[in-house]
């Protein structure tokens, strides 16, 4: 299990044990955490699972694919540490990961 801290835009923290193999998005959605909509269910088609990856975890979460980068380029409130959480696979390595949610996904 990997402990992941999801922080809503209003500061509310949710610490969740997520099974390796799921994505960071699935960890939030299956636990009904507000702030990640994931309308397309993880197909990298909608950009509604946008998160900011804590700086300390940027390298461990890997790099975005061209498709993800292209979607993010046109999403709102994008920062250099923005990712689509459906594209980050959870591994034991990510135990302790912290992600923050943007103000809105739509």
């Amino acid at each position: 299990m990997a402990k992941i801290t999801y922080i809503e835009n209003n500061g509310t923290e949710h610490v969740i044990d997520v099974k390796p193999g799921l994505t960071v998005m699935e960890g939030a959605v299956k636990n009904n955490i507000p702030g990640i909509d994931a309308d397309c269910g993880g197909a990298c088609a909608c950009a509604t699972c946008h998160v900011y990856v804590d700086e300390a975890w940027k390298d461990k979460t890997g790099t975005s694919s061209a498709m993800e980068e292209s979607m993010l380029d046109f999403a709102e409130n994008v920062e250099p540490n923005s990712r689509l959480s459906c594209q980050i696979k959870v591994t034991e390595e990510l135990d302790g990961l912290i992600v923050r949610m943007p103000e809105s996904q739509h």
């Binding site: 799921l22 959605v29 299956k30 397309c40 269910g41 197909a43 979607m71 380029d73």
Partner: protein, 409 residues
């Protein structure tokens, strides 16, 4: 609306109903919730059934919207395997197929659609399938072995996605379409041609402008599709993907206004203020297009689930979203924003032969819809421009060397 302790009954445990009950708890609603679904399993995502799930890249757990424990842990009385059979609005009671009945303060109809049957002889043969539920997908998957012959009746998105998955699994696929082109109901000719060519290059066969006379069989099992011109396409499995019909009879019999689905407003409320309808069963306003429509899409179902959760919990109504949808076939990602209503011109940006392009449907210099193939910037920016109704310079839009950010500036 004072609905803090109201009993919310949701009929239909699909994508719409499942999302709504979770949102109600997320938004702080702590009254009783009952979720009634006629399938044996908890709410799950349907889109992967024709794609990742069929190809064995997703399992039941990943399809589920929430783990099964979620419902009990959140005091949601989930009743699988049960359908609503009668709605008595005067008593605010729903009668269920197991003989029991439920009293509601707020009712949400989320009963979805059912696939149209093929009105030809042989439609009842074993191996003639439709694709709506996980159980349907399970049956289809069992047939898609290397070398198997799959005939797909109906060249819509579900049929094409299944054709792509079948090829990935090594099965042969023939798409039979009554119209002279695939996607005739939903896409323009350029996109139809592109997808047909892409599928042909990967071994899918097409019979276009072809009527189906009957399905042939032996020992109760399907063996082929007999076309109106007399030829027979051999097949051990036939997928019928010729559209669907909203499950709105319960609502209609109870006197709610229907019109190819239950008529709702922008809060997803029906003609009875205590009853909402969401998802494929609803016929809803499309505020960007000044008309009513049934988009038959997951994003629309999710938007309506939000509308109802906001209405019940007293939150402000969410901003109307630009309708959108997507389809994955092979390495192609099609993203569609908007609907091509009232469009008077089609503009193609990029070269379809490159596998990366976008088709804009325009009304004057306003974008009504965009179909983007492996082209996220065109999709993302197109969606924004549809939402804010900003006119675009068509010369710039037609020139792929000018970025979408500059087009929208």
């Amino acid at each position: 609306m004072s609905s803090v302790d109201a009993h919310v009954v949701v009929l239909g445990a699909g994508h719409a109903g499942g999302t709504l009950v979770a949102l109600l708890r997320q938004y702080g609603f702590d009254g009783p919730i009952t979720l009634v679904g006629d399938e044996p399993i908890a709410p799950y995502q349907r889109p992967p059934l024709s794609k990742a799930w069929l190809k064995g890249e997703a399992d039941a757990d990943s399809l589920a919207l929430k783990p099964l424990e979620f419902y009990a842990e959140n005091q949601i009385d989930f009743r699988p395997g049960v359908a609503a059979v009668k709605l008595k609005r005067s008593d605010k009671v729903v009668e269920l197929s197991d003989g029991s009945s439920l009293s509601y303060d707020i009712l949400v109809i989320a009963t979805g659609m059912r696939p149209n049957r093929l009105p030809v002889p042989g439609a009842e043969l074993a191996g003639v399938l439709s694709l709506r539920t996980a159980a349907d997908a399970e049956q289809l998957k069992a047939h898609l072995k290397p070398g198997a012959h799959l005939a797909i009746i109906g060249g819509g998105y579900i049929g094409l996605e299944v054709a792509a998955s079948a090829r990935a699994l090594g099965a042969e696929a023939t798409v039979i379409e009554r119209e002279p082109r695939i996607l005739a109901r939903s896409a323009c000719e350029a996109l139809s041609t592109f997808f047909a060519d892409y599928h042909r290059a990967r071994g899918v066969k097409f019979e276009l402008g072809a009527g189906v006379d009957s399905l042939t069989g032996a020992d109760g099992k399907v063996t082929g599709v007999k076309l109106s011109d007399g030829r027979t396409i051999p097949a051990e499995v036939v997928l019928v993907g010729v559209g669907g019909k909203p499950n709105d009879e319960l609502a209609a019999e109870a006197g709610l206004e229907t019109a190819r689905g239950v008529v709702v407003d922008l809060e997803a409320r029906t003609s009875d203020p205590s009853i909402f309808a969401i998802g494929d069963v609803s016929h809803r306003p499309m505020p960007h297009y000044d008309r009513m429509f049934g988009p038959e899409s997951v994003p629309s179902a999710l938007e309506q689930a939000k509308q109802v959760a906001c209405a019940i919990t007293g939150r402000p109504a969410p901003t109307p979203e630009v309708p959108w949808n997507w389809s994955d076939q092979y390495d192609l990602k099609l993203q569609i924003a908007g609907l091509p209503f009232d469009a008077d011109k089609i503009l193609i940006r990029g070269d379809p032969a490159s596998g990366k392009f976008a088709i804009f449907h325009l009304k004057g210099d306003l974008i009504q819809s965009v179909e983007a193939v492996n082209a996220p910037p065109e999709y993302m920016m197109g969606r924004q421009l549809i939402g804010n109704r900003k006119p675009v310079n068509l010369d710039k839009l037609a020139d792929p060397s000018i970025s979408m950010k500059e087009v929208a500036a």
